[in-house]
Each structure stands twice: as C-alpha cells, then as structure tokens.
C-alpha cells in the first residue's frame, strides 16, 4: 500500500494539471474539466489526510465538495451553452468584449 505522501503527491500533480488546463486551454469545456480536476485533487488530499489523522472529517468534507462540484458543473455548462447560443463560440479567448 502506497504511503500517504504518494497520495499527496498525486493530489498536488492533479491540482497542477488543473491549473495548467485553466491557464492554457482555449476550449471552455476543457477549462470546466480542469476546474473539476482541481476540486477533486483537493478531495483526494482531504481523504488522504483523513486517513492520516485517523478521522472521518476529511471524508465528510469530500462528500460536501462532490455535491458542490456537481452544482458548479451544472451552472458552468449552462453558462457555456448560453454563451454559445449568443456568440457561436466556446473559446475563452474570444470572450473579450469586456475590458479596460
């Protein structure tokens, strides 16, 4: 069984991938996925720490976070769809009307 540190490392790497995705990908759907990745990397961290401390707190938090993530995904997709209907594009670098 891998040591907690390795789970933590995976969690951090996932968070980093999420950040990289948000910063570099132009497709909004991929960015949404990246955000999910960041939330879930936090979940992994919570679970790891929960085991580490021998408590249930972290796991309870993870369940809360999954609920929140689901709601967030729904809202995010709705906004992307609404934007696509208006502009016909799901590229984040094309939504730059507001600036200055």
């Amino acid at each position: 069984m891998p040591a907690p540190l390795e789970y933590l490392a995976v969690s951090c790497i996932l968070f980093g991938i999420g950040i990289a995705g948000v910063l570099t990908r132009r497709n909004l759907l991929v960015i949404l996925m990246s955000i999910e990745l960041m939330l879930n990397s936090a979940n992994l961290a919570f679970l790891t720490f929960s085991r580490l401390h021998g408590q249930l707190h972290g796991q309870v938090i993870a369940i809360f976070v999954m609920t929140v993530a689901a709601a967030e995904a729904a809202i995010g997709l709705a906004i992307v769809v609404a934007l696509f209907r208006q502009t016909g594009s799901v590229r984040i670098d094309e939504a730059t009307r507001l600036r200055g």
Binding site: L8, S11, F15, G18, V22, L28, I31, I35, M38, L39, S41, A42, A45, F46, T48, F49, L52, H53, Q55, H57, G58, I61, F64, V65, V68, A71, E72, I75, G76, A78, I79, V80, A82, L83, Q86, T87, I92, A95, R97, L98, R99, G100
Partner: protein
C-alpha cells in the same frame, strides 16, 4: 474533537440561525409563488410581499438573539457562531435584501428578468451571505462562499437582452470556481497540517507555534488568496471590472454590496477572530495587498467613463482601505467593520440611484450620460451626491469618519507609510467621484431620463442617505456597537 454528538442541535440554535432560515424560507416561497400563479402581476405582488416579509423576519430574528455577556457562542455542533458580530452583519444583509427588493425592481424589469426568478436566486445568495459571518470552521466557510456565489454566477448572465451579461457570467464563473478550488485546496492543506478545521482549534495550534509546518503555512496562504478574491483585493481583483460592468445593474448592485460585505465579514472573522495569530504570518503580504488595492483601484477608476466600471475599480480601492484596518489592533478591526458598514450603505444608495436612471431598455452607462441630471431631477441628484461624497470620504459623511478611523488605527500601529498612501490615493478618489457630481450639477446639455420612483423607493433612498450622513455626524453609537462586536470575535 471528542465523541460524536448524536444530534448536535441545542435549544436556541434555531433562533440563532433565524435570519438564515427566514431567507431560505423566503426563497422557497418565491419558487412556490412561481408555480402557484400564472398571472405576472400576482407573481410580482407576492414576490414583493414575501421578500419584504423575509427580510423583515431576518432582521427581527437577528435582533432576538440572546447575546448574553457578549461572548461568542458556538452552535450547531460548533459549525457556526452566534454573537454580536453575526447580529451586526445579519442586520446589514437584511437591510440590503430589503433595499434590493425596493430599489432594484425597476432595473430587474428593465433587463427583462422575471422578478420572481431573480429574487429567488438572490435569496439563496443572501442565505450564503448570512452564513459567511457565522462560519466557525473552514467547511462552513467554503460552503457559505459557494452558496453565496453560485446563484450570482447565474444571475450575472440572467438578462437575455444583455449583450455582455453572458461573458460576464462566464468570467465570473471561471475565475470564481478557480478561486474556490484554491480556497478548498488551502483548506485541505490546513486540515492536513493540523487535523482540524475548527477556527478555535486551528487558532490554538497556530498560536502555540508548534505547528509552523509547511502545510499550515501554504494552506494559510491559499485560504487568504481565496478570501481576497471574494473581497476583490489586488492581485485577485481582475474579475471585478469586467463582471461589474457586464452584469445587469441589479446584479452588480448585489455584488458590490452583499458579496463584498460577505467576503469581508468572512475575512475579518478569519483574520481577526480566533485565528488572529495566523495574521502575524501574513501581515507583510497583507500590507502589499492593501497598498496595491488602494493604488490599482483608484488609478483604474480615474479614467473610466463607464459608471459601473468606475464603481467596480473604486470597490477594489475600498477593499484595500477596509483590509488596512486588519493590520491595526482591535480598534483597527472595529474600524474595518465600521468602514464596511458605511461602504455598503453608500454603495447600496449609489447603485439604487443609478438603477433608476434610464428608460425603456436603456440604462445610463457613462459619466457623461449624467450631464444635467441635477437640473431635471434635483432631489435624486442630491441623494446621489451624498452617496458619492461618502464614498469619496468628504466630511460630514460617514465615509470620512470611516477613513479617519482606518487611517488613524494604521498610524497608531506604526503603518505611517500605508496611511500616507491611503490619503494620497483617496485624493484620486475624490477626483473621479467628483466627476460624476460635476456632470450632474455643473453641466447642462444632457437630458438624463429618470424612471418613476415609488414612494417606498424614496423612503429607502432617503433613509440610506440619512444613515450615511448620520454615520458622519454622529458616529459614536455605531462605533460602540462595532467595538463590542469586534470584542466578541476573539
């Protein structure tokens, strides 16, 4: 930690979350109204009635809380606080909800949003706000912030007529979610480092100094970043101008008042409450956040022609002024809370006025659109001027007294450079707020149209203006309340 409690609800706990229940019930009531009636007038009428009752109930239940000797009480399995501080912010949010119902109605209808839908979403957001000042652990904090934000992501893009609303919604959503993820990861690290998420427990661990582990420090940094995002402080501020400008004005008003105040309520609780020891780790970084916010916010607002964008940048600057209070001692914290109250009242008034200008689908957008307003609509221009003077910090308005407290506490605790910068940047602030005043009072050529104000709107705007002036002329009473509220934080 201890043994798990079977049902962690004590007698009196429900009263303590009374305001929260009141708005959640109101939100459910809105949904019921939407289903029960088919005719728009009936929907609207009942939406207004339920909303006002909900806000009034929230205020009343907030006042019913037994504060006892003034110490903080932990309720609902130590997840939430109940003390004078929560009462203070409860009253503020209840007032904002009432003001939003009365003052934003015209703007909501102008943007072709259905009031019942708008206010049900807004009510859920308000529920999140009522939670932020109460949060006693990091999970409550996270959930409160999510609950407050998500309805607003929707509302930002809610106006089908708006050309920019959806872009604003997208930016708000993407950046807000990223900030939430950062906050959450910070919470995870903090939990990992200490094995706890309770403020009290965390505070004890941090101040004992035995747990200066990298996990705790990194977690602290990320949580601070997440909170600074909601507050709109530099460099986490970049969403504000675009989102404020693009969203329907009624939503922008909510963001500038409610979201800002809620973020500050959470940040003040977090940094000046039981976790105050943590502040000493980040005080230098907070110094920079404050300084940059004041400079970037005021400089950004200086050359803006769009009124909403101008107020957005200025809200960044105000976040800086308020956070400056946290660098001081307990008087500084009180100054920050006082400033928050004054800022919220002034901005609520200012947006209240802005929402009434314009007709048909058109809102007034630029500073020049307000040319000649005073000639045609002197009373409302006078009210607007009072709110703007307060934001600019000119006596005898509350804004001056608030700045005086904040700068005074900063100087008192040795942050003279920061206070100097604050005074300097507030001079820029005076310049751009006065541009609006000048446009209204000293230019003749424009013909701004004012939508009809109901008597209730006049009363609400008048009360807001009166309270802004009262806070400038007789700040003593509120100052005493704020001081006791801050004492109950620790």
């Amino acid at each position: 930690m201890g043994t798990p409690i079977p049902l962690p609800i004590m007698p009196g706990d429900l009263t303590a979350i009374g305001p929260l229940l009141a708005v959640v019930i109101a939100a459910a009531g809105f949904l019921a109204v939407d289903m029960a009636f088919t005719r728009e007038e009936l929907k609207n009428r009942w939406t207004f009635i339920i909303g006002i009752i909900g806000a009034a109930l929230a205020a009343v239940t907030a006042l019913m809380l037994d504060i006892g000797t003034g110490e903080s009480r932990l309720i609902l399995g130590e997840a939430l606080y109940a003390d004078l501080y929560t009462v203070f912010f409860d009253l503020l949010f209840a007032l904002l909800m009432g003001a939003s119902l009365v003052l934003s109605w015209t703007a909501v209808e102008r943007a072709r949003m259905k009031p019942v839908e708008f206010y049900s979403l807004a009510a859920f957001s308000f529920a999140g706000m009522f939670l932020t000042s109460r949060a006693a652990d990091l999970l409550s904090l996270f959930l409160a912030i999510e609950l407050l934000s998500m309805p607003l992501y929707v509302l930002a893009g809610f106006a089908t007529t708006s050309k920019t609303g959806r872009e604003a919604a997208l930016k708000y959503f993407v950046l807000g979610s990223v900030a939430s993820a950062i906050l959450l990861f910070g919470i995870a690290l903090m939990y990992g480092g200490t094995g706890s998420i309770d403020y009290v427990e965390l505070g004890a661990q941090v101040s004992s100094g035995g747990r200066d582990s990298p996990l705790v420090l990194a977690g602290l940094a990320l949580i601070l970043a997440g909170l600074a995002f909601k507050v709109g402080a530099v460099p986490f501020h970049m969403w504000t101008p675009d989102v404020y400008e693009g969203s329907p004005t009624a939503v922008t008003a909510l963001m500038a008042t409610g979201v800002k105040a809620a973020g500050l309520a959470a940040a003040i609780r977090f940094l000046a409450g039981p976790m105050a020891a943590a502040l000493s780790y980040v005080s230098v970084m907070l110094w920079w956040i404050v300084a940059l916010s004041m400079v970037v916010g005021n400089a950004g607002a200086m050359l803006q022609s769009n009124v909403k964008r101008l107020l957005a940048y200025s809200s960044i600057a105000h976040a800086g002024y308020i956070l400056m209070g946290l660098l001081g001692d307990s008087l500084g914290t009180a100054a920050a809370v006082y400033y928050t109250a004054v800022y919220v009242l002034s901005v609520a008034g200012a947006f209240g006025v802005v929402q009434y200008f314009g007709d048909g689908d058109r809102e007034l957008e630029t500073v020049d659109d307000f040319n000649g307003a005073a000639k045609r609509h002197p009373w409302i221009s006078l009210l607007f001027t009072i709110f703007l003077l307060s934001l600019a910090g000119i006596p005898p308005t509350g804004g001056f007294v608030a700045k005086f407290f904040v700068f005074g506490s900063a100087i008192q605790t040795g942050h003279i450079g920061l206070a100097l910068l604050g005074v300097l940047t507030s001079v820029i602030g005076i310049y751009y707020y006065l541009r609006l005043v000048i446009a209204m009072w000293m230019k003749d050529e424009g013909r701004p149209v004012l939508a009809e104000l109901s008597p209730t709107s006049w009363v609400v705007l008048g009360l807001l203006a009166a309270s802004v002036l009262a806070l400038g002329c007789m700040p003593g009473w509120l100052w005493l309340i704020v001081q006791s509220a801050v004492v109950s934080l620790v």
